[in-house]
């Protein structure tokens, strides 16, 4: 009777131990990954970069510029990111006219990726719009960021 009770108690304690150790391991791994802070940092840097490029009229300057020239310039702008970050930037420029059928038609889209980067990590996306008065154009920029 006593032996059976002890064995049951042992088994119960073993289960609790296994669950507790598993939980500790999962939590330590999760905390060690600092994924939350990385994600926050990626978003903050992405928003800052887009704001700086927009307010310095960089995106507007791409209107009417040749495609390869824009893509080379976008590559240079991505070099502004810290070394451990990778970026993939897409700038789309639209003509606007009240529809129907549509209000905006894509005029040009430019893209570039940080040298030596491949998309193999969790990606953080940030975006920004811009407008040019003369000629009247609308722009949309999407920046994908991840850790190298």
């Amino acid at each position: 009777m006593t032996k059976g009770f002890v064995l049951t108690l042992d088994a119960f304690i073993a289960i609790i131990t296994a669950v507790a150790i598993s939980a500790v391991i999962i939590n330590v791994i999760y905390a060690g990954g600092v994924s939350y802070f990385d994600k926050q940092q990626l978003a903050a840097i992405g928003y800052d970069l887009l704001a700086v490029l927009d307010l310095s009229k960089k995106f507007s300057s791409y209107i009417g510029m040749g495609g390869s020239q824009v893509e080379i310039d976008l590559g240079q702008q991505l070099q502004l990111l810290p070394q451990r970050y990778c970026g993939n930037i897409t700038v789309s420029i639209y003509n606007g006219d009240i529809g129907p059928p549509v209000d905006f038609t894509l005029e040009n889209s430019y893209n570039n990726l940080t040298d030596g980067c491949t998309k193999n990590q969790e990606i953080t996306k940030v975006k920004r719009i811009f407008v040019n008065h003369d000629p009247q154009k609308f722009g949309f920029v999407e920046l994908e960021l991840w850790l190298r």
């Binding site: 920004r128 719009i129 008065h133």
Partner: protein, 303 residues
């Protein structure tokens, strides 16, 4: 008895482990919540700023507060159909930025969603709380007004206005010494030698530059002080000419609530206006409120 001790000790150890796990889990959840909120706050802030920044591009105007001065750089008349541009801009924001996780609304002061193109150009930019209005009769921007109620006029220390004409030349002296016409003939003339003892006196410095590209030709008006108490006003017609015709730009100063009224008659200009106030406690509002919100928070402010 030994077994009982072992059991108790083991139980206490595992209880400790469980408490530790609980604390770690709670901490992680708190970190996750804080970071998510921070990312969301940044998203709201940057989205609000981006939408706000480009309203000035749509209107082709730049409005800046610098200590006690409101600086407004403008291009007149309008190059684009501004009302149509505003409508398109609102649609572009809705179609590219707005999604199920973020809401972007242009609102009136009662929180109702508005059509940006329905903003009244006659109350477009307002210096608050003085209710000093920089405005146009319509979005064609052929005429420029600065209005202030007499009760708020004393907030204005002075106004400096520089107008660069892009398609016409002076047709008057002194910039064109050979011209029979004078640039500065105020009719009626309520200019003053100074503002001493006057309640409604405007200190106004007005300079025009013509389209001459080889030699910069400027004219800085001699009159600097104007009685603007209703019904007093001062009017001057600045003679200018283009390749084919001569005409005038009409400038009126006063009577309140009109502080300045400049009728360009389709002359293309870039203007730079500095409204010096007697306080730094003011802000410049566009006649709309921008509300950007997510489930975590929102930013609601005047454009």
């Amino acid at each position: 008895m030994k077994g009982v001790y072992f059991t108790i000790i083991t139980f206490v150890i595992f209880l400790g482990i469980l408490v530790y796990v609980n604390v770690i889990t709670g901490s992680n959840m708190e970190t996750s919540r804080l970071v998510t909120e921070k990312i969301s706050a940044e998203r709201i802030f940057y989205t609000w700023r981006a939408v706000d920044d480009h309203i000035e591009d749509v209107l082709n105007i730049s409005v800046v507060k610098d200590n006690d001065t409101a600086i407004i750089n403008d291009t007149l008349p309008a190059i684009q159909d501004v009302q149509n541009f505003l409508k398109l801009y609102q649609r572009f924001v809705n179609q590219t930025y707005r999604d199920p996780t973020i809401d972007i609304r242009f609102e009136d002061y009662n929180g109702n969603e508005i059509d940006l193109s329905a903003m009244d150009p006659q109350t477009l930019f307002i210096i608050e709380p003085m209710n000093i209005r920089y405005n146009y009769p319509d979005f064609g921007k052929n005429r420029l007004f600065v209005n202030a109620d007499p009760s708020n006029f004393s907030f204005i220390d002075s106004i400096n206005l520089y107008i660069k004409m892009k398609n016409v030349f002076f047709d008057c002296k002194p910039p064109r010494p050979d011209s029979p016409k004078d640039c500065e003939q105020w009719t009626p003339d309520n200019t003053l030698p100074d503002c001493s003892g006057m309640k409604y006196c405007l200190n106004f410095d007005l300079t025009f530059e013509d389209a001459n590209t080889t030699v910069t030709k400027l004219y800085n008006f001699n009159a600097k002080y104007f009685n603007v108490e209703s019904p007093k006003k001062s009017v001057v017609n600045l003679p200018v000419r283009n390749e084919t015709a001569s005409f005038t730009i009409k400038i009126e100063v006063g009577p309140l609530p009109t502080v300045i009224d400049i009728d360009l008659h389709n002359v293309q200009v870039d203007t730079s206006m500095e409204i010096d106030l007697n306080t730094t406690d003011f802000y410049i509002n566009l006649a709309s409120i921008l509300n950007v919100s997510t489930v975590f928070g929102k930013k609601v402010d005047n454009l």
